[in-house]
Amino acid sequence: MPATDTSVIATEELAAAHRMGAEEFRLACEKLGRAPNLTELGIISVMWSEHCSYKSSRVWLKKLPTTGPHVICGPGENAGVIDIGDEQAIIFKMESHNHPSFIEPYQGAATGVGGIMRDVFTMGARPIALLNALRFGEPDHPKTRHLVAGVVAGIGDYGNCMGVPTVGGETNFDARYNGNILVNAMCVGLADANRIFYSAAAGAGNPVVYVGSKTGRDGIHGATMASAEFDDNSQEQRPTVQVGDPFAEKLLLEACLELMAEDAILAIQDMGAAGLTSSSVEMAAKGGSGIELNLDLVPQREEGMTAYEMMLSESQERMLMVLRPGSEPLAERIFRKWELDFAVIGTTTDTGHLVLRHKGALVADLPTGILADEAPMYNRPIAPKPVPAVVSAEDVPAPNSLGDALTALIGSPHLASRRWIWEQYDHMVMDDTVVRPGSDAAVVRIHGTNKAVALTTDVTPRYCYADPFEGGKQAVAETWRNITAAGGKPLAITDCMNFGNPERPEIMAEFARAIEGMGEACLALEYPVVSGNVSLYNETNGEGILPTPAIGGVGLIADVSRVATVALKPGDDIVVLIGAETGHLGQSLYQKQATGRVEGAPPPVDLAAEKKAGDFVRRLIEAGITGTVHDISDGGILVALAEMAIAGTRGLTFAPADGLAPHAAAFGEEQGRYLVGVSRDEAARVLDEAKAGSIPGRIVAEVGGDAIVIGGEKPLPVGELRRAHEDWFPAFMGGKR
């Protein structure tokens, strides 16, 4: 820890130690009209870090569509807010906790969950669901098991203790994440649309109140760590990882919601990355006011903490609020009831400055503008790489047996059941989980109503690497499709943009093209971005991760009795395919299995066809014609059919498309497609209606028996497929694979 005497005047060397370049340091001195002292340097450097300032991404993020008829509040607040009717709002966001989770998987993942929940309940919502999107290195990398075990336990223990169900997510393995895993957590909350709480602290003379846990020396410089690449010594950064206490957060949640029912809070902001610094600066900057804090009054866990340490601590489970003057006793009573710290630590001012006093001395005086809107912004150079050519099906070897290929795929690390993960999450608490993990989207009922939300997280990083534009489109479209497959009307998304070093033009190009692709899909599907997070510098020793723009989607189901799941049900005689067949094997999991590589262009997304097919399928669910729908994604039609068969314990006979190579028909990953289970009578009607709407459709399987039958091959008993599908994960984690 550097000396913390405020008489220490910052230099270029000190700035470099804060990962602040010489140019930015000069800019800071220029804006300030003097060199900052050490405490001020700590504050400026963290606010100007990539993590807090979005300095490389802002110019691109502005291009995303963020408005729509359902949007109450788009990006820029703690989370996005959408209207779900009846004066109710859904507040949601996804956020990364990649760097800490790689260094300390249990605490890193746990505090990621804690942080995203605070973002949601800060705005007045009770969290009703959690999801996650996880990327690990290849399964046989020596660290992978340890990281999977730690991350899953961390997510589980935090969410389980909070009593918020973890209902969905996705997990990938790829060597490109060996040195930099991704842990993205999403929280969805429910609020009264007329009682949303924002962070802008307008007006002077209002009390600034600190609530929650005490401030300690943990997590100092967490945001700075999250803004740099890793190397072999990254493990030494373990002390920068925060430690979570879900019990404290549960108390904080209940206390905040209790106070929010009163008319006492003017503005509220959780203390996440950059803790007290970013919460106070953001509240003042957004409100056009200033803030003056007396750090002597900050509840402290340790003795002798300096101003520098207090301002940069990322201790968890803390909130900063600006209260209506006079309401302090009421607020204090509530927080004391929940046995939490409560301290008036300052006041809002009209100076536009962040002013800090400690032990009688003025230790920092910074204009908030410098720290917020005037932070550096870069339009970094981009160098897109050429998009690979389309691979034809003939160039991907056919298997000896489609059935063997299916068994291998469905029991592979990429497609094996994630039950081992989601059974460690309490996915039923709150008694509103209508569709549990394992289907296309989770469905959570809006408590006490007949409505529900459909929730999912998706992205296909290998597609994004091959073609970031199509990959970005596909990520958005796949969430839209998964929500649709559950019967939901997709309303809006949150994005969690995980990329490598933006100072490298090829990485910046991945980011830019992914944003453009996402934007195009959002516009075409009327599906805006309302919140998000950017995580850059996901690199170790100069090797970047796959570009991973993880998308979290939220849709609305008007009648919770009209939902669909993937399981074949007793009334299903026929499986109808909705969508076109071209046998696209480039970038498919089959290609990876057959050749050991993924190559070529990813499957393109035709957004007009996507919308048409999806709207059609959703109408079938809404009309009660089907309760069995599965979107076709990784692994293609045959894998999707097998998943339906396994989930429903029913057999089927697969009819591959005429005119396509059988392995391309079975495993091609064309986009915008669904499998719909219907009765024999309904099948003809569904196909007629599809035809009338110029939507491709055909019968792709007959349901019956207890095996999957593929041409003249030996039937594959569903029980055997289930074992292949279910056994991989527990065997892997048990060290048996």
Partner: protein, 226 residues
Amino acid sequence: MKAAVIVFPGSNCDRDAAVTLEAVTGVKPAMIWHGDEALPKVDLIVLPGGFSYGDYLRSGAMAAQSPIVRAVKAEAERGVAVLGICNGFQILTETGLLPGALMRNSGLNFICRDVDLTVERADTAFTNAYTQGERVTIPIAHKDGSYFADDETLDRIEGEGQVVFRYATAEGGSGNPNGSRRDIAGLIDRTGRIMGLMPHPERAADAALGGIDGRRLFESLTRTLN
């Protein structure tokens, strides 16, 4: 039937229990904060699932020492029925109101899933709407649910008919999920007024969420205590 649900800091199935009680009995239960001094006059006290006081030290251990649980104990001695679900069961063993202890699951992980149970006793205040020997499906969600007692205690509680639910390990059943001795999932005390179980019957009482096999537990209580 009038019920009270105790709310500890860290309880998180309190609302679920209350919603189910109201749905089955038609009467909203009283929600009793752990700091409250006295319990209202009720027929049933529910200790809900969750992580009381963060489950620090040991699941249920701190709650067992709390003043409100002393009051619950006094009410139980007066004959008020007590139902402990999940963390509530852990609290009941920690207080000694039920024998044995709930230890870390044998697989060491938290488990949330539907499990099959065999109804061992259908003649209690809590289970008289079930049939003896019936198999029912009710979810579990816990990390510390492995029931342990020494052989002597196990023989005694078996002999006195205190085992009410067992994990169904026979052919077709989902098996013992957590290593509980003798597959014990739920117990009743000698008086027949205090029951604890690890599965969550309140999560299996609404058809929209899957099964409704847990609903009859609340129906049994309503029938008995009205």
